[in-house]
Symmetry: C2
Subunit: 457 residues, 2 copies
C-alpha cells in the first residue's frame, strides 16, 4: 500500500514537473516571439543614442538620459517609476585632443588619440617629450628612472587574440590603462600613452577609466589607436629619438547630482521578494554608448514591457534599473545597494547586461553551488534559443555591491567577438547593433526572470 | 590472471584515450591560436571582395576569381592545385532596374528594385500594370484569373521573425521568389514583384535564383526592398488602383565555360581517403559576395594553410574546393561529384561553409546514426571554443551531390541573426564581416577535419 502511495506521489510529482516544464516552455516561446516581433528595445536604443548620444556622468546628456529613461519605463508599463539620487564625479574631456609623432628628422604625423577618463590635462601648450616603448610593467621597471625620467612612456601591450572570450584578453591588458600613468610617474615620466585595447587594427582610440596612485605625481595619460601604436612602434625601431606631442584639456570639476532610474512591476504573490535587472545609463562620450551600455538599459526595460505586453503577472517583484556612473566611479550601483539595505529590502536575485547587445549564449552565475544547480536545471528550456552556457561566473559591476547582502547574481553572457572593436570608442553606435541580437538578449533575460519570479531562487 | 590482464588492457585503453584526448585538445588549441593570430582568411576575403567584387557565373569577375583562388591555394601551401571544367549558365542583369509606384492620382515614387536571378527582362520600355497584393499562394489562387489577369502580382510575404534560426524563416518564404513568377503567370499576370526575404526593414532589394515552369508563360519578376514593400502595401490599402512600373533588361546568354578550383594536401598514411571542404566562389553581383560565400571559400583555403603553417601532416587527404555556380545552377557541385565517381575516388567526408562568416556554433551532420555518434564523441573538445551544437542536420548545396555516394556530409553552423540582412544584397560586403568570427569558423572546420583525418569517420 505504501509502495502504491509512493508511486502515485511520484507519478503526481512527475506530472507536475512535466506540466511545469511544458507551461514554462510555452511561456518562454511567447516571450521570445513577442520580443522578436514587437520588441521596443532597438527603437529605444536608436532614440537614446541618436537623440541624446554619449552621456558621461555629470554631463547635460546624462541628465537628459535620466529623464528619457523615466519616460520609457512608464511607457513600458512599470507600475511605479522613481529616481534615486546619486552624487557622481564630473570629469570633462574639453577640446579635442592632439597627438603628434615627431621624428628626429622633424617629420610629423598626427595620430588618433584620446584622453583616458579621469586623467589630468596637459599644460595649455601640450607636452613634447621623447618616447620610451614598453610592453609591460616588468620592462618599465627594468628601464628604471634613468631611462624613463622626463619621457613619455608608451605602453604597447597587444590584445591577445588567442583568447576565445575577448573579455579575458581585455582583462589581461586593461591594467596598463588603469594604472599605467602612475607606474610611469613612479620612474619620472611626464606622460603616458597606451595602445588601445581592441581586437582589431583601426584608427579608433578607445577611452576608459584610469586611476592615480595618490602618492605619486599625476601625469596626463591618453590612448592611441591600434594603427597609431603600430606606426609609432615601427618608427621607434628606426629612430629611438622620436618624440611625441600630447595636448589634452580634460579636467575634473565638482561632483554633480545625478540619479539611478528605477521602474518596477509589483509581484502578485510575494511582492517583498525583489528581482533586480539592470544596465548602466552613463557612457563614454567618445561614442554614443550603444553597446556599452545603452543595450543593457533598453534590454532591462524591455523585460518589464514583455511582462506587461503578454499580460504575465509575476509572482515576485521585478525591478529594472538604469544605473548611473558605472564608467567612472560606480556610485549608482553602490547607492542602490545602500538604499536596499536601509529600506530592508529582500533581493532574491540581481541580473545585469553589460557585455554588449550581442547574441546571448548563456548566463554567468555568481551564487552558492545549490542555487547554481537550481538555475542549471532550467538550462534545457533555453537550448531552443541557443542559450546553452550556465557554467561560468561573472555578473556585472552595478549589481556587484549586492554581493555583500548575499544576493545571487547573474550576468547575461553574449558572443564577445565584436565587443572590443567598439568598446569606449567612436564606433559604439546604433549602426553596430543588430536588432535581433539585442532582442534575443532581452528575451533571454526576461525568460530567466520569469522562471525565478515563478519558482524563487 | 585474466582479470589482471583485462584490467591492464583497460588501463592501457584508458591511458590511450586520455592521451589522445589530450593531444587532440593541444592540437586544436594550436589550430585556433594560429588562426586568430596569423589567419589569412580575412585579408584574402578583403582582396576577393574589393579587387574583384561580385562574381556571378559566366562573368569576367567569376573568371578572375578562378585565377585568384588558384593563386591563393598555392600561397596557402597546397601540395597540388588544379581546375575542374564546368559549364555554367550565363545570365546577365543588364542596365540598372527601375521600379516606380504610380498612384491613381498620378503621384509617382521610385523604389529600390532588382531583377530576380534568371528572370526574363521586360519589354524595352518596361511594363506598367495595376498591382494586386497577395501574402501567399492560397490568396493568389482564391483571386483567380479574373482578378489577376493583366496585373502585376505583389507577393508581400513577411519574414517570420519568431524563428530563432533565420534560415527557417528564409526557407518558409523563399518559394515566392523561386516559383512566384510562374504561379502568377498561371492566372494571367504580366509580371511579379516579391518582398525581399530579409530580417530587417531597409532599402536593399535582395536578389536570388528563380525558376520558370516551362508549361507557363515566362513573365519578368523582381524583388523590392522591405521598406518599398511596406510602402506599396500601405498605398494599396488607400488606393487599390495603384500601378507599378517595372523595367529590367536582364537576359540569358549562351552557357559559358568556367571552373571549380581544387587544392589538396596529400594524406601521409591513407592518401586515398579524401576529406573535401569547400564553399562557393560565384556570388550575386548585387553585392560583393563577402558572406555568401567568399567566407566559405577563404575558410576552406585557410584549413589548408593552418595544416601547413603548423607543420601538421594529415594522415588522410584534405582537399579544399572553391565551387563554381552554386547560386544559379549548382553545376560546380554536380561536376565535382561526377569526377569523383569517374575517378573512383573515395571520399570519407564532405564539409561546406555556406551560411556566412559568422561566429560558429556547431556542425550540421548528415550521415548515418553511428557516424553521428562518432562525431558527437568529439563534441567536448569543441566546448572551449563555444562550438556546442552537433544535434542538427544541414550540410551544403555544393557537397550535396556526394550524398548519392553515401559520403558523410557536414555543414558549418553559425550564428544566423545577421545573415538575411546582407544575403544577396548590396550590403554583402567585407565591412559586414568580422575578422575573428570568420577565423573562428575556419579554425572550427580545421579542427573537425584534423580529427577526421586522424581517426577516420
Amino acid at each position: 500500500m505504501k509502495k502504491l502511495i509512493l508511486s502515485i506521489s511520484f507519478a503526481f510529482l512527475l506530472f507536475s514537473f512535466c506540466h511545469a516544464q511544458n507551461s514554462d516552455s510555452i511561456a518562454m516561446k511567447r516571450i521570445y516571439s513577442e520580443a522578436l516581433t514587437n520588441g521596443k528595445a532597438y527603437s529605444w536604443l536608436y532614440d537614446l543614442t541618436t537623440k541624446i548620444g554619449g552621456r558621461l556622468s555629470g554631463s547635460p546628456q546624462a541628465a537628459q538620459a535620466v529623464e528619457w529613461a523615466r519616460k520609457i519605463m512608464i511607457e513600458a508599463g512599470a507600475d511605479s517609476v522613481w529616481l534615486q539620487e546619486v552624487w557622481v564625479p564630473h570629469w570633462v574631456r574639453g577640446e579635442k585632443e592632439s597627438g603628434i609623432i615627431i621624428q628626429s628628422n622633424g617629420i610629423k604625423q598626427d595620430v588618433p588619440v584620446c584622453a583616458l577618463g579621469m586623467s589630468v590635462g596637459t599644460p595649455k601648450d601640450g607636452i613634447t617629450a621623447q618616447v620610451i616603448e614598453v610592453h609591460n610593467f616588468d620592462e618599465l621597471k627594468a628601464l628604471g628612472k634613468e631611462k624613463v625620467k622626463g619621457k613619455i612612456v608608451f605602453y604597447n601591450h597587444p590584445f591577445d587574440q588567442t583568447f576565445i572570450n575577448t573579455f579575458e584578453a581585455y582583462g589581461e591588458a586593461v591594467k596598463y590603462r588603469g594604472s599605467g600613468a602612475s607606474e610611469a610617474a613612479r620612474y619620472g615620466a611626464v606622460a603616458s600613452i597606451t595602445r588601445t585595447m581592441s581586437s582589431s587594427d583601426n584608427d579608433f582610440p578607445h577611452t576608459g577609466a584610469m586611476g592615480y596612485n595618490d602618492s605619486l605625481p599625476k601625469i596626463p595619460c591618453a590612448a592611441i589607436s591600434t594603427n597609431a601604436a603600430n606606426l609609432l612602434s615601427s618608427i621607434l625601431k628606426a629612430d629611438s629619438k622620436t618624440k611625441f606631442f600630447l595636448k589634452q584639456s580634460c579636467q575634473m570639476l565638482d561632483s554633480t547630482k545625478s540619479f539611478n532610474v528605477v521602474g518596477e512591476i509589483k509581484g502578485s504573490e510575494r511582492p517583498q521578494e525583489i528581482i533586480v535587472v539592470g544596465g548602466h545609463l552613463d557612457s563614454w562620450e567618445t561614442g554614443k554608448g550603444a553597446h556599452d551600455d545603452g543595450a543593457g538599459v533598453v534590454q532591462s526595460i524591455e523585460v518589464l514591457r514583455l511582462f506587461k505586453a503578454l499580460g504575465m503577472k509575476p509572482k515576485r517583484t521585478i525591478r529594472a534599473v538604469a544605473f548611473m556612473n558605472e564608467e567612472n566611479g560606480g556610485h549608482g550601483g553602490k547607492k542602490y545597494e545602500e538604499l536596499a539595505e536601509a529600506n530592508h529590502e529582500k533581493h532574491i536575485a540581481g541580473m545585469e547586461s553589460d557585455a554588449g547587445g550581442f547574441t546571448p549564449k548563456g548566463f554567468g552565475l555568481n551564487m552558492s553551488d545549490d542555487k547554481k544547480q537550481a538555475v542549471r536545471k532550467w538550462a534545457p528550456l533555453f537550448l531552443p534559443y541557443n542559450v546553452y552556457d550556465f557554467e561560468h561566473e561573472g555578473d556585472g559591476s552595478d549589481i556587484s555591491p549586492l554581493r555583500k547582502q548575499g544576493v545571487p547574481l547573474i550576468g547575461l553572457h553574449v558572443d564577445s567577438q565584436r565587443y572590443f572593436e567598439v568598446h569606449h570608442a567612436a564606433s559604439d553606435v546604433i549602426e553596430n547593433v543588430n536588432r535581433r541580437e539585442l532582442l534575443l538578449g532581452a528575451a533571454s533575460m526576461a525568460s530567466l526572470i520569469y522562471l525565478i519570479s515563478t519558482y524563487g531562487l
